[in-house]
Amino acid sequence: MFLVLLKKELFIELRSKELILSMVVFGIAIVLAFSFSSNLSRAVVINYASGMFWITILFVSALGVHRSFAYEKEYDAFSMLVTAPIDRGLIFLAKWVSGFIYLTLMEILIIFPFFKFLMIDYPSNILIAISTTLFINLGIMAVANLVSGIAMRSNLSEILLPILFFPLVSPIIIAATKISTSVMLNDSYVLWEIWVLIVGSIIIISGLAGYVLFDYLVEE
Amino acid sequence: MYNFFGYFISVYVIVFGLIILWFIIQFRSENRFLLKKYDNDKGMN
């Protein structure tokens, strides 16, 4: 059942491609704005690059999640999902995984412009950089989908979503910046182990909360 | 260097002043609701 829901999410996107396209264009626009605002001074960019990257990802994921829930809102698809005899928590899981896939695709497309525009070197340990980034994506998307499940069907959803999302995601911003900076500097794992644990606990808590609460949120 | 007593007094005025203000606001809104309710009841009869 979960796979059917996931296939539905991915299928909508495959047809229109508007979500990925808008996420990538928006992401590149933000990277451009960061390169202008940092004045391309080496000192600023080296210290702030990972922060810039995650801020870009946050803005883009807020946009993407809003779009992915707006589909349901426009065609009132939630009421049909609710009448279907499925566990509603699975809707959350499907949204989570599909959002994770979009975010990862978007990062693949945006990562080269990001490094080249800001003129920084790639991290030496690519494998660790990729795995930590995927892990953090999972955390961001868990919180984002949970928040948009709460905020989506209110009248001011496009304002409420960022207002709720950014405070709730602040532990991930801290952790992600610390982890990425450490990876860029090639620090040993012991130094940033705690941040991986924090992101992991956010994934577990938000995932569980989303799985349980969607049962009540999606209801008519 | 700092006027410690001034900070102390300002904190206590703010905290207890706002708590009293909260009670006044609640009391006024309660009275307004009661008055409206009274009018409604009278209108129905």
């Binding site: 949970l146 069907r153 409420l160 602040s170 532990p171 | 703010i14 905290v15």
Partner: protein, 223 residues
């Protein structure tokens, strides 16, 4: 319906709270020792820490009532959640005002990235969103469920937010609550007395607020 304070036991409770608060203030002003390098500023703690305690207690009650509302669908729990969130945000605002006032003379600058203060600020921001959900929530039953869910999500995030800010800026040590536990008894006992008085004040406030909310809801049904 009559005024809340026309009932005998409510009159007694508010009278007791007023007397205890006056005793509390006099006790703090005259009866507590001066700490050498903080002087009067140290006495800010006697209201600052109880305010923070009530704020977190209140948000805990929001979580509990949100949980109870989702399981029982009883409007009583929604009213309690609304009252607790309003009063909790009120006290959190007091914490965010009094914290920087204390920090200005002691730390030399109004804002320091101290974990409890930052956690308070983040919770405060989330609860601004909570009230926006309540105001613009659309269909009323759904709005109540969304608000209950947000109350739960906000509180279960508190430990993570706190831990992450603590590890983020570990160099900040000096904090009211930590210091309070190590204080001698002539400071500790007035502090605990103040904590009890504030908690009693909070119970009176929340009962009064629930009463006013009920009155408001009852009025809307009639019209």
């Amino acid at each position: 319906m009559t005024n809340y304070f026309q009932k005998k036991n409510n009159q007694w409770s508010i009278l007791v709270i007023i007397i205890l608060s006056i005793i509390n203030i006099l006790n703090i002003v005259y009866n507590t020792p001066m700490v050498p390098d903080q002087h009067w500023a140290q006495k800010i703690f006697y209201v600052h820490v109880p305010s923070a305690w009530i704020g977190f207690l209140s948000y805990f009650i929001v979580m509990i009532s949100g949980f109870m509302y989702l399981t029982s669908r009883d409007n009583k729990w929604d009213n309690i959640g609304l009252a607790a969130s309003e009063i909790g945000t009120f006290f959190m605002a007091l914490v965010l005002i009094t914290g920087p006032i204390w920090a200005t003379p002691i730390w030399g600058q109004p804002w320091v990235w101290e974990p409890r203060l930052v956690t308070t600020l983040i919770l405060f921001l989330i609860y601004i969103g909570y009230f926006m959900i309540r105001a613009y929530g659309g269909y009323i039953e759904r709005m109540k469920r969304n608000a209950a869910a947000l109350g739960i999500v906000a509180f279960i995030n508190v430990p993570i937010i706190f831990l992450s800010v603590q590890f983020w800026s570990p160099e900040i040590q000096s904090h009211p609550q930590v210091e309070m536990a190590e204080q001698p008894s002539e400071i500790l006992s007035p502090f605990i007395f103040s904590l009890i008085v504030f908690t009693m004040l909070y119970t009176v406030m929340i009962r009064y607020r629930v009463y006013v909310i009920n009155l408001n809801n009852g009025m809307n049904e009639d019209v």
